[in-house]
């Protein structure tokens, strides 16, 4: 059960374990650590019990050894018992804290890992509809709220309740009347503290909200420093910041005002209770109803009944926030993962890359049809070019191949087999994608190139791939060479450089089918030719799909599909399409028109 200390164990399926029910869910989330947690709370009970025992011993000591001068045991034994009780109290507090920490940290680690894994396994449709910031906040703030629930709140509520119960029973045993008198104020304190912490939680949220606004103002000012200076808007910026800064001050003031009201009020309440108890207790002692030792024990114990209750309200309010966090986290957990391994393993040997689309249609869940009746055939190693405007369905079409989405009608065949028989994992291993503006990770360039391959790769292999992708020389100009970090903390790469690194990444991956997005060429002409030659290396012996905007890059394709509104409107080789009356011909004619115009321009210049 405790084997998890060192390394993560990610075998537990939280989706099956958890449910909508919050408290049950929070309990099950601790799976395997529940007994530990119960032990943690029980240790709080023992700790409270030792504390009570200390005061009872004091009572015994005063009554016998001092008041009556009877000494049944040697004095050192009494001293030892005192030290022992206090020591036990400390020991149990520590044990409880340690067990609770072990439970909460283990539970939360498992939850963190599960969420991370869950998110990367959720289908595309989920990601395209979910806001990144929202997901991150659930994985961080909400998970942390749950951590505090296990580590502070649940254990805190346990501690305070046990302190109250154990001490209250002890008081009742000392003297029932006195015991009952000592809890008169309890409901008031509880009520006031819950009321107060609710208000605090609202005010605090407002304060945090303003803090976020202030941060944004600052961040925008700093990153837009050139604009601020260019318009000489420093005074305006200062006024704007000051306004937000002042608002934060005001909200902080409000928060503090609530605090400054609560603590004295609750202090007076507790004070009234304390003094009433002292008065009644003292009179009872004078009347001989209880002993002096009893009074001393009472005076000590009563403090542990009243004062901790002031904190109980805070835990209760915070706990309700943790329950909301549970809901938000559970919403991610309950989503269905993409079954990436589902498929016929027997088929998964070497494939050639022959692809056939038969009357394929595709629509998203909410019924907007994106692809209609797509049919074509590509032999292994051929180049298929897709030409069409934004929204014509090019990307949707290629997204079907690695099964990012599954087509909804018709048939797609890979090497003559139904595409859906292959597992997603296999397909994605065999298909390489080079996007127009590829996403690189903030790691070293080396790691980015070897990112797609699950084996150890030598430096030579990486460099060879980079050379083939025509990016090796560029990498060498960076301060750290291949170890240079990409992104904010390292070099900023241009679109063309990113694309060539993605090409190197795909070369190492060595897929049998290739998807290349060439939609917009914002890169300059020189870079473009470098990318083109890198692509030609990559395309060799692989079935390739090129998404293109311009004809120049696809004239050599084996098959050109001209798309419009989710349909193939023209299909064929360049030589045939040029002769055909249609969009393709129109685009092609532009080429000749441009050259004529250029000649005209130049002759105008003289």
């Amino acid at each position: 059960m405790l084997k998890q200390n060192g390394r993560s164990d990610n075998t537990l399926d939280l989706k099956r374990l958890l449910s909508e029910k919050r408290l049950a869910g929070l309990w099950r989330l601790m799976d395997g650590f529940q007994y530990l947690y119960i032990a943690a709370i029980a240790a709080q009970g023992f700790s409270a019990y030792s504390k009570t025992a200390t005061f009872l011993l004091l009572s015994y000591f005063v009554d016998n050894y001092i008041a009556a001068q009877i000494r049944p045991y040697p004095i050192w034994l009494i001293v030892l018992s005192f030290v022992l009780f206090i020591g036990l109290q400390g020991l149990f507090t520590y044990i409880s804290g340690r067990l609770a920490a072990k439970t909460s940290e283990n539970t939360i680690r498992r939850l963190r890992n599960y969420l991370f894994d869950q998110i990367q396994h959720l289908p595309f449709s989920y990601h395209s509809e979910t806001d990144t910031g929202e997901l991150i906040s659930r994985c961080t703030s909400d998970v942390d709220a749950l951590r505090r629930f296990y580590n502070d709140q649940a254990i805190g509520i346990g501690r305070i309740s046990l302190l109250f119960i154990v001490n209250f029973i002890a008081l009742l045993n000392l003297n029932t009347k006195l015991g009952l008198i000592s809890v008169i104020v309890v409901p008031f304190i509880l009520g006031v503290s819950i009321f107060f912490f609710r208000k605090v939680s609202v005010a605090y949220e407002a304060y945090q909200e303003q803090d976020a606004i202030l941060s944004t103002t600052l961040q925008e000012n700093l990153s837009g420093v050139r604009v601020v200076k260019a318009f000489a808007r420093q005074p305006y910026e200062i006024t704007k910041f000051e306004k937000n800064n002042w608002e934060k001050f005001q909200r902080g003031k409000k928060l503090l005002t609530i605090h400054s009201q609560y603590w004295p009020i609750s202090d007076v309440l507790c004070g009234v209770q304390l003094l009433t108890g002292y008065l009644v207790g003292a009179l009872m002692t004078i009347n001989g109803e209880i002993s002096v030792g009893n009074y001393l024990a009472y005076a000590g114990l009563v403090i542990y009944i009243i004062y901790p209750l002031r904190g109980l309200g805070r835990f209760i309010v915070q706990m309700s926030n943790a329950l909301v966090s549970y809901d938000r986290v559970y919403k991610i957990i309950k989503e269905d993962r993409e079954p990436i391994d589902e498929g016929d393993q027997k088929l998964e040997k070497n494939i050639n890359g022959e692809i056939t689309f038969k009357h394929v249609g595709f629509e998203y869940e909410h019924n907007d049809r994106v692809l209609h009746d797509i049919s074509f055939h590509a032999d292994a190693g051929q180049v298929v070019a897709l030409l069409g405007s934004t929204g014509s369905g090019k990307t949707s079409l290629v997204n079907l191949l690695p099964r990012f989405y599954d087509f909804t009608s018709g048939e797609i065949l890979l090497d003559g087999q139904d595409l859906r028989l292959f597992s997603r994992r296999f397909l994605r291993k065999e298909i390489g994608i080079v996007e127009q503006e590829p996403f690189l990770f903030s790691r070293s360039i080396k790691e980015n190139i070897s990112y797609g391959v699950d084996r150890d790769i030598s430096q030579e292999e990486i460099e060879q791939a980079a050379r083939m992708a025509a990016v090796h020389d560029v990498i060498l100009t960076f301060p750290g060479g291949y170890d240079t970090l990409v992104g904010e903390r390292g070099v900023t790469l241009s679109g063309g450089q990113k694309q060539r690194i993605a090409i190197a990444r795909t070369l190492l991956k060595d897929p049998c089918i290739l998807i290349f997005d060439d939609s917009t060429s914002s890169v300059d002409t020189e870079t473009e030719s470098q990318i083109r030659s890198a692509m030609e290396t990559l395309m060799k012996n692989r079935t390739t799909f090129i998404i293109a905007h311009r004809i120049q890059s696809i004239m050599a394709a084996d098959l050109i599909l001209v798309m419009e509104q989710g349909r193939i409107v023209q299909k064929g080789k360049h030589a045939d399409l040029v002769k055909e009356d249609g969009i393709y011909q129109q685009i092609f004619n532009i080429q000749t028109r441009v050259e004529t115009e250029l000649d005209q321009e130049l002759s105008n210049a003289g």
Partner: protein
């Protein structure tokens, strides 16, 4: 370099006289409130110790003597003092809390105001994250130390001292036991707190790594899936969460050990007290109430000790924060008005660059002996490859940086003699990466001229063709642009930033690839409007689109920090040199783009999956 490590090692956190007096000076304007909270917290602290003493009196003078009169009197005193204490608690929470917020406010504002004065060279050397951390975290830490830290330390120290005084008055021998054990307690407590703090810092660091990891995995989920990286990613993430587990668990159990640890040390003192009193009672050395008072003092001693230790452990870090704040305050801007700086009233006039040299921090020359005379009202186009120095010329002209050698004259004045305000308020600049501020479109356009009327705003927006897409938005000009303008496309942002510059009605107009992401059709439409704007103003255009520069009065090909070719469009074409090559190459790709029937206008702001 990661922002959190930048310049970290330069600040020692040692308390020197200078830092100390500067920290204190933050409190000076509020000295009355400081005295107020110190007095009230001392009252609270003394009463806390006195209540234990009163508890003793209840036993010794009330219960043991059976004197009810005395009992009532003590309880009445106790009760009224509770009221006094509650009032004082109200006083100090209110005073110190609001003072803390006020000091945070002051520090943030002071830093922000100072940041506005710093030059671009500061910003290019300092990561934004580092600056933000100064304005947020460091101000927080210093304010916390100066208010709640000071308060906690005062309460703790006074409580221990008054407690000791009462103990000595009850029984000096017993008090000596406590007195002897106190340094051990304090030392242990401080060591403990320091370790706990270190662990919490590790937790925070790992936590930000975890957030970054989530962020990357979610934004790059397409690549992760395409490359089938899921298992390896989980493995890597598990390492992070293992790290988090180790640090978090350690922090938690150390914290859990703290109070019991202190308690167990004090248990020995309590043992000593019991043993001593068991013997002493025969000699009337101590009363029953006295014993119980001693036990209470010992039991509650751990709270002031905890407070003191916590403040002490935080001290070093807070001082390092203060040092960083002061260092930022002491940074002087590189570009500064001379004391004799003046405003000539206008920036209209000829501009000349005389033997200009410039290099950035790395000291590699960027501009080498550049000479140029520009007539008032001329339109100058700068072309050339990236890194050739075009943007640096613009930076120098705007006086974001000053030339290292040579000088720039505007209307005959050496521009370093003029005030920055005089120059920059009359220059309109549009950058390639448009920067928008959170707020509405209208607010972003009026940034160019704060008092512009709605008609003027619309006029500027019509000129730049921004009006067309703005009108199609649901709330028109009142549409929110989102943080940094995320709700708009780059092309839309460029049009807004262009409108902003047009509205500012500048005397010198600079466009640094201002419309690079606007579709060709829209750009052509803007053309006429922009020409009207540039008429009569000296203008500089950096562009890779030829249509925009063709009609410039002079075109400069900048290469290697020098002017490689200069002349009108036709002159340069005839030269058949660099410009000719550039032009023919770009002409082809640009026209192909312009005629391409698939080219979607970028300003339509479509965010489709495809």
């Amino acid at each position: 370099m990661p922002a959190d490590q930048f310049k970290e090692e330069e600040f020692s956190g040692k308390l020197t006289g200078e830092v100390f007096s500067r920290i204190l000076s933050l409190l000076r304007p509020y000295w009355l409130r400081v005295i107020g909270f110190l007095v009230t917290v001392i009252i609270v602290s003394v009463l806390d110790a006195y209540f234990t003493y009163l508890g003793m009196q209840i036993v010794d003078q009330g219960i043991l003597t059976g004197n009810r009169e005395m009992l009532y009197r003590i309880l009445i005193r106790y009760g009224s003092l509770i009221l006094v204490q509650s009032a004082s608690i109200f006083g100090f929470v209110y005073l110190v809390g609001i003072l803390g917020e006020r000091i945070r406010y002051d520090l943030r504002q002071k830093l922000f105001n100072h940041l506005q004065k710093l030059s671009l060279s500061y910003y290019s050397q300092t990561p934004v994250g580092w600056i933000i951390s100064r304005v947020t975290n460091d101000t927080e830490r210093v304010a916390e130390l100066m208010t709640w830290g000071l308060l906690d330390a005062t309460w703790g120290a006074v409580n221990i001292i008054t407690g000791l005084i009462f103990m000595f008055s009850i029984n000096w021998k017993l008090a000596l036991i406590v007195f002897a054990i106190l340094p051990i307690l304090l030392y242990t407590a401080v060591q403990f707190q320091k370790r706990i703090l270190t662990q919490f810092r590790t937790v925070r660091k790992v936590n930000s790594k975890i957030t970054a990891s989530h962020n990357e995995n979610i934004s790059g989920v397409r690549v992760v899936k395409a490359l089938g990286r899921e298992d390896k990613n989980l493995e890597e993430f598990s390492e992070l969460s293992d790290e988090m587990y180790t640090a978090g668990f350690r922090a938690a159990w150390l914290s859990a050990l703290f109070l019991p640890g202190v308690q167990i040390i004090s248990a020995f003192a309590i043992g000593g007290i019991i043993w001593y009193s068991g013997v002493q009672i025969n000699f009337q050395g101590i009363t029953i109430g006295g014993i119980s008072a001693f036990l209470s003092y010992m039991t509650f001693m751990m709270w002031p000790i905890q407070d003191l230790a916590r403040v002490f452990a935080e001290l070093q870090r807070a001082i390092a924060s203060a040092e960083r704040i002061f260092a930022l305050e002491d940074t002087t801007p590189d570009v500064l008005d001379k004391p004799s700086a003046y405003d000539p009233g206008t920036m209209r006039g000829d501009i000349s660059f005389e033997h200009l040299f410039f290099w950035y921090e790395d000291e590699l020359p960027v501009i080498k002996d550049l000479n140029l005379n520009i007539k008032r009202g001329e339109t100058i186009a700068l072309v050339g490859s990236t890194g050739g120095g075009k943007t640096t010329i613009v930076n120098l002209l705007c006086r974001f940086y000053e030339p290292k050698r040579g000088r720039i004259l505007i209307g005959g004045h050496d521009y370093t003699d003029l005030s920055l305000e005089a120059i920059q308020s009359r220059i309109g600049i549009v950058l390639q990466t448009p920067h928008l501020f959170s707020g509405t479109i209208k607010e972003n356009i009026t940034y160019g001229r704060l008092k512009a009327s709605q008609e003027e705003i619309e006029k500027a927006a019509k000129l730049t063709r921004a009006h067309q897409f703005i009108e199609r938005l649901e709330k028109g000009y009142d549409e929110e642009v989102g943080e940094g303008g995320v709700l708009l496309s780059v092309g839309q942002k460029q049009l807004i930033s262009l409108s902003r510059a047009v509205l500012s009605d500048p005397e010198i107009f600079i466009m640094d690839e201002a419309t690079s992401s606007v579709d060709t059709l829209t750009e052509a439409l803007i053309q006429d409007g922009m020409e009207a704007v540039m008429k009569g103003r000296t203008s500089f255009i950096i562009a890779h689109r030829l249509s925009t520069i063709k009609r410039a009065d002079r075109i400069l090909v900048i290469e290697d920090g020098q002017i490689a070719e200069m002349g009108s469009h036709n002159e340069l074409l005839r030269l058949k040199g660099k410009y000719f090559n550039l032009y023919t190459k770009q002409f082809r790709s640009e026209r192909e783009g312009a005629y391409n029937i698939f080219q979607e206008p970028d300003i339509s702001n479509d965010k489709q999956v495809d």
